[in-house]
Symmetry: D2
Subunit: 358 residues, 4 copies
């Protein structure tokens, strides 16, 4: 299904003023970066209230022990307690756990945004890339794919939304205009540079002295799992293509920059490409076309993704650069954007369009 | 004047709901870090509207050229245009300019928070530390000193508030409880470590490759200008003392950590000190006593200052550690806190108690 | 001319022991990163002695004022004084100056390694990419191109060597094996990530707080000057190709990582590619094929370049990753390697094969 | 025992030229930062050869797996194999292991530098600060304390040398001139800022995203183990004093900066202090007095420690700042300096006085 093309906002605003109670939200797995970022964003959301956090590691301890940045004195609880009292659930768990939990949560009439990879791919693809047989394959088809700029209407009607991978959102913003316009010829190269928070909070192998003052490529040449999701999005957008994905890591905390290379399927020009990108994004809340090359620093703390495009006439190649905060628009901000759609709230509610600088 | 001891909040809330128009705010010098941080904070403040930004360097250019993090398409204007249409003015200029501008602004009935050092010290002290004769000495006495935790009432009655230096706010939060309790004997050591944004946006000598992977002491042994302001605050709090201030720079963007050393004037203990700090800060919005040693990272993007205290019985010495975001509680967030007081708004309006992490 | 394929070492060793006097070396422009790195390397070189440093900015001041890392108390001198007393000259000046100086230096019988771009390209190409008419076009043809792995013999016979660009050396090590084997089809993509020292010591726009916690693409889509030099090297190696070069900057001090994408001209495999790279580099002093993906951190302070290759069968694309220290193998270490060849010394003399870690 | 005051160098040089065989050196625990740094330094040392590395974690694997910076293809071996073939042993193990190993090694007639804390303190002090009963207390008295600037003669006669803690060397260089001159009154404050490599290679709690963009105090107020060693050095230098030590961590890889505060025992002046420091250090190889405040970046990769002093007349307080590379002069470089003394080699052999910059 192609996007409706316009963000959902104004028509639903009236409903809100009639609301007297905030929606009760629970965060499962609130000790990781996805859960922590959700908690921070939702702490100032006007229409939802986080009523519980779960964490096996921190159960019974105050939230501030895990999150010294927070101003919250609640205790972490066990998962069941949080599920019981919440009407809307964010699952912020490692891959492979949500597939067992979601059926029960949906049966109890609660809505879910799953931040893991469990519901992003068809069951066979999931098994191929994640090495595990899916335990709830029947639910994959019911899940909306949580990229509002591509699947806005489906998300607004869904009870279960699969939040995309961080690199995937970035690459999608870079490539969707080309795919929709049929401008892609042959395979696509996505060269990404992630900040180190992309490895998660407890990831081994990221001790400061070892990764500082370095950049590194990893899982290149068709081996990174986000490859499948990137290809699925090009198919959704109307132009199936193979993706060569080369992730890199650089010594910064937050952000992803993707530089994408596309051989055009026909003659094009810088002017045509700029016009195309501008038209696709001008009605979006959180994606903007910028004349200058975008950088992740400019998006830190915001839910924005900035995109720019260049045509390299010497090599007959389109180069697109997209940047976002991997923990916000690349993860938890996008999850809140999806929640807003699923709850019939204005799509941009509680989400910042300003980053902090420096 | 000693603090009233309690933040100003609840009694003024009713007035707000009656307001139909937001206060028109102007930012003079909006291309520096102080001005840019003000713009970001105020972009989501519910009761004020930034109606103009001035910048000599960027006049006529879109705000986003200077601030790629922003979502604001207004043009920078000249100072006069901004002053004309604003009712509340933030002066975010280099030291030595505000003293010439403030008289005219006050005459036009507008209120001012000055982020520079111009109105922080008595005229003679100003001349001694800043090497310049003050052009508006008669206004210094009218200016409130903008540390709400120390001068809340004066600020709420002032038309002109002198926003403190970044190190000074940090040291004040660390030392005020001791000064009020009369616990300081002899001179005090303040050992500070600032992030590099403390040098300002256009500061020379901070090129990445030169300052990265390094820490450095600078202007130590009684030569840094903030020394005078720190000493003045100890006097305000009731216990005049000499301060040995040793500023350091470390390779991080935002934040200040101050480790302060005090010889106690009488017998004391860890338990007494913890009780003292807890009691002083428990009613404050933005200062909190933490059992764990505080860090600036936990405050990034928030207006919080975290403080902890330790008694070193071996050496009979009190060690206090305080941390904040130098651009928020150390500068622009505190300026908004002061604005809220001056406008009769809840002191914490539009200011975050949550930082972002990581 | 193709490489002779073997480093020059053992046969010349005997000559050395007969030497009683060290060669007198002068560094022109010794206040920039190229000159400073040369001084550090040469401080422990057994067969040459740096007899003078020139710098307009620091003339008359001690070397340590510009280089706090050094243990050298000599004063910076003016250029003429240094040229007079030196037999071997390193020109470490901004682009566009060496072309006027080299004729006079060569006339006086001194040998020169020029670290700028002045003698790297044919005059017409130089004018096109650097926007300036070349003042000594007749000398360009006499200059050896200072990539020992490609032009070893020519360098050893030259009086003037043009030291390559930092990105160019990295890309050359990644691509030369493919070019020599005729494996390149169509245009090549070079995606580079440089540390910030690549911008030079006095470069504007690299203040810490502005570039920290960020990555950025710049001068992409055929606009970076190193593009021409990369293409010239592919021609030298036997397979002229167009290059799409996308430089990026990341927040680390030293290093370049290039990830290169090549569509193979015929069927190939991971095993064939590994064999090819291993064979090309096994006799090189400073280039090594590594099974693991290389990183610049592993080369810091050394003259090594590490290279690895992957075949992406899904996309039929060869991905090569190369890494080095941009100030050593990417600049001043390579310059010393060239000097060694020009002076008939063992090619690896005074150059480290070990980096420092962490 | 007070220092002899002069480095050991010239009289021993002749012996060296007579040597035909290099001393065989073994590194026990070569997978940590201490061992890795030793390997790198010794790779270019002219009079010793590393004949074996041990590591339980990497036994049987190539050295380059653990150290991608290295150019060494030897395999890690087990400890016994390395001890067998070595004549000089570096123990680079966690605290608490060397005390069990050293008796056997000394019995076999081999010399040892121990990089751990096991032989730095009297047995009772060791037990108090490290919480473990010492298993070889009789050897503690035989061990030289490995600070050449303080114990040069003892080290040159020792078979076992206890290499100092990293903070301790820094503080010692800052304070020894004052202690020798009897200038210290009351307790001393040592405020240190370490790079993150100080936590070791496998240290938990130092993941990049958690410690980046932050500074933190830790183990303050008399709780850090290096306190005892600092106090012991002041006693050795003739003026026993209590030390208040406040360690901090900052986001840089290598280096320590200590800012020390001393109340003078009598009237003094900036001029007297400068003269004192200059006189104490002018004959040292690796410690230099600098007029400008020193920084660790200027020492990276070198065995230098730079020191500067300021008198704060306002507060009647001496402030001394010292900086070094914690892995070189603060650990493995100092260990090599000690080895040189123990082997009768020139004290500075194989050790660099130049750091790398940037």
């Amino acid at each position: 299904m192609l996007s409706t093309g316009y963000p959902i906002q104004s028509t639903r605003k009236e409903n809100m003023s009639a609301k007297t109670h905030k929606t009760k939200v629970g965060i499962i797995g609130a000790n990781g970066y996805g859960g922590g970022q959700l908690a921070q964003i939702l702490s100032s959301h006007p229409e939802v209230e986080v009523v519980g956090y779960s964490s096996r590691q921190f159960e019974g301890q105050p939230f501030r022990v895990a999150w010294p940045n927070s101003n919250d004195n609640h205790l972490f609880e066990n998962m069941e307690a949080v599920l019981d009292k919440s009407d809307f659930i964010f699952l912020a768990l490692p891959n492979g756990l949500a597939m067992d939990l979601v059926p029960g949560i949906l049966e109890r009439g609660k809505k879910v945004v799953d931040l893991s990879a469990d519901f992003r791919l068809p069951a066979a693809e999931y098994q191929k890339w994640y090495g595990k047989i899916h335990s709830s394959p029947e639910l994959i088809g019911q899940a909306a794919y949580g990229l509002p700029e591509l699947e806005r209407l489906a998300i607004s009607q869904a009870s279960l939304t699969a939040n995309p991978g961080c690199y995937v959102t970035t690459a999608a913003m870079a490539l969707l205009p080309l795919a929709r316009a049929g401008l892609i010829s042959g395979s696509v190269i996505v060269d990404g540079i992630s900040g180190i928070s992309g490895g998660g909070r407890n990831a081994d192998g990221f001790s400061y002295a070892e990764v500082n003052e370095n950049v590194a490529a990893y899982k290149i040449a068709g081996t990174h799992r986000h490859t499948a999701e990137m290809e699925a999005n090009l198919t959704r957008a109307g132009q199936p293509s193979i993706v060569s994905f080369s992730p890199h890591i650089a010594p910064y905390t937050r952000g992803i920059l993707c530089t994408c290379y596309v051989t055009p399927s026909r003659e094009t020009s810088q002017a045509e490409l700029e016009g195309l990108y501008h038209a696709v994004f001008e009605h979006e809340f959180f994606v903007r076309y910028t004349a200058d090359l975008p950088t992740p620093k400019a998006t830190v703390g915001s839910n924005r993704c900035d995109v720019s495009v260049r045509f390299d006439a010497r090599a007959n190649r389109i180069v697109v650069v997209a940047a976002l905060d991997n923990l916000v628009k690349g993860m938890s901000g996008e999850a809140v954007q999806n929640m807003n759609l699923m709850l019939g709230l204005p799509e941009d509610m509680g989400l910042s369009k300003w980053g902090i600088w420096p």
